[in-house]
Subunit: 225 residues, 2 copies
DNA sequence: TCGTTCTTATGCGCATCCTTATTGTAGAAG
DNA sequence: CTTCTACAATAAGGATGCGCATAAGAACGA
């Protein structure tokens, strides 16, 4: 799970980085709005923690431009001010959630989890969707009484699908988030891992299946009988 | 395995009871918070499935009072609301896991299994997990009639694994806790001690084995026959 | 000094990952 | 309806790198 932190105050930035890293998020950190925008525009992040007051380009503007560029990465806005008008402005600009400083580490993590959880539910260190439970700590997929171990890539791909349960995850997104943006991985690569996963789902007798949308991507669903 | 279900809504209560009974759990069922508390305080249960909204005493309060009375039975909280603040409150009050209604039967069972999966137990100055007993004073590992002495590092590594019985302990955690945070110890170091430990487990004819999760860490388990 | 415990080094084996090739299927054109 | 093309699914074969084991050297305490 990749997180971008945009925060100019050094102490706070460091604290944020540490909190997130401890939870095994992959953290990238930048210190002004211009850099923040550049990084976030890549769309490779699962969430952006964005300070409101920033050098060069302020947080509201960053959020606005991101949304204008159709980047839908969830944004958690941070601010020192605790004013309703700020919140409205932030949310109007495309932020998904809002926190005032000082904040509690637990609350921050809870909010980030809430943002990165689209449909599949993350509780503790498990991710559930349909009749599937993915154990994040052991990279192990559970369904009923059966369970299987997943390889690293298998795990990452399935996690994306479960996080966006029932919504289509574009193949290019999968490549970007699992193989990395700079990757020259072929589409066929994804197909291979989808194939692996389908096999394991069948093995588990799961009712959940991976559906295909041609030219687009894949999604999880539980077909009606 | 004894489970206490605290749920006021008759339909749901019945469904829960059935799901659990089918899995050969011994189920006790009560329908308000006051009874729930009384029953749970006996400490005889392996897990409590606890609704948040209850007559007389609500779920949060039940959890809080249980923990206050040093009853550590795992609690799985149920709620209709899907709000982050509820989850935080629930977990803060001592719940171990959280599920929102409606839920999948398989997921419920998976979570209950996860909760009842016993961790290593400390009694006096011994630590037990599976068929292993670690004597903390003598740095000595006992299994059945056999026993071996452990080196200091061996001992520390095994203690970590036993304390988190069945859950994956990341290699970096092992290095941090055994060699120290500032250590530049190599991963290979851990592997060597895992190797030593496996040899001693085999020597003791223990049914407990050390499993591997690639790129992550190790865990103890007792494989099915 | 000796023995135990800890660290470092090295080759091998295997799970995972990636690539290529073949077969299968959906949709468009004739 | 048939044929063609593009894409998707699966299978099979290496390539890679991680983890395992063993051994030998270093530190430590008796």
């Amino acid at each position: 799970m990749r997180i971008l932190i945009v925060e100019d105050e050094p102490h706070l930035a460091e604290a944020l980085g540490q909190i997130m890293s401890e939870q095994r998020y992959q953290v990238d950190m930048v210190h002004d709005g211009a850099d923040g925008l550049d990084y976030a525009l890549t769309g490779q992040y699962d969430a952006v923690v964005l300070d409101l007051m920033l050098p060069k380009v302020d947080g509201l503007e960053v959020a606005r431009r991101l949304r204008a560029a159709h980047v839908s990465t969830p944004i958690l806005m941070l601010t020192a001010r605790d004013e309703v008008s700020d919140k409205i402005a932030g949310l109007d600009c495309g932020a998904d959630d809002y926190m005032t400083k000082p904040f509690d580490a637990g609350e921050l993590l809870a909010r980030v989890r809430a943002l990165t959880r689209r449909q599949g539910e993350v509780i503790g260190n498990t991710l559930s969707a349909g009749d599937l439970t993915l154990r994040l700590d052991a990279r192990c997929l559970v369904c009923g009484d059966d369970s299987v171990r997943l390889g690293f890539k298998e795990f990452e791909v399935l996690r994306l699908l479960m996080a966006g349960f029932r919504s289509v995850v574009p193949k290019e997104d999968i490549i970007a988030k699992v193989w990395g943006l700079e990757s020259d991985a072929e589409d066929n690569n994804v197909e291979v891992y989808i194939s692996f996963l389908r096999k394991k789902l069948a093995f588990l007798h799961s009712r959940t299946v991976i559906g295909t949308v041609r030219k687009l991507g894949y999604f999880l669903e539980v077909p009606e009988p």
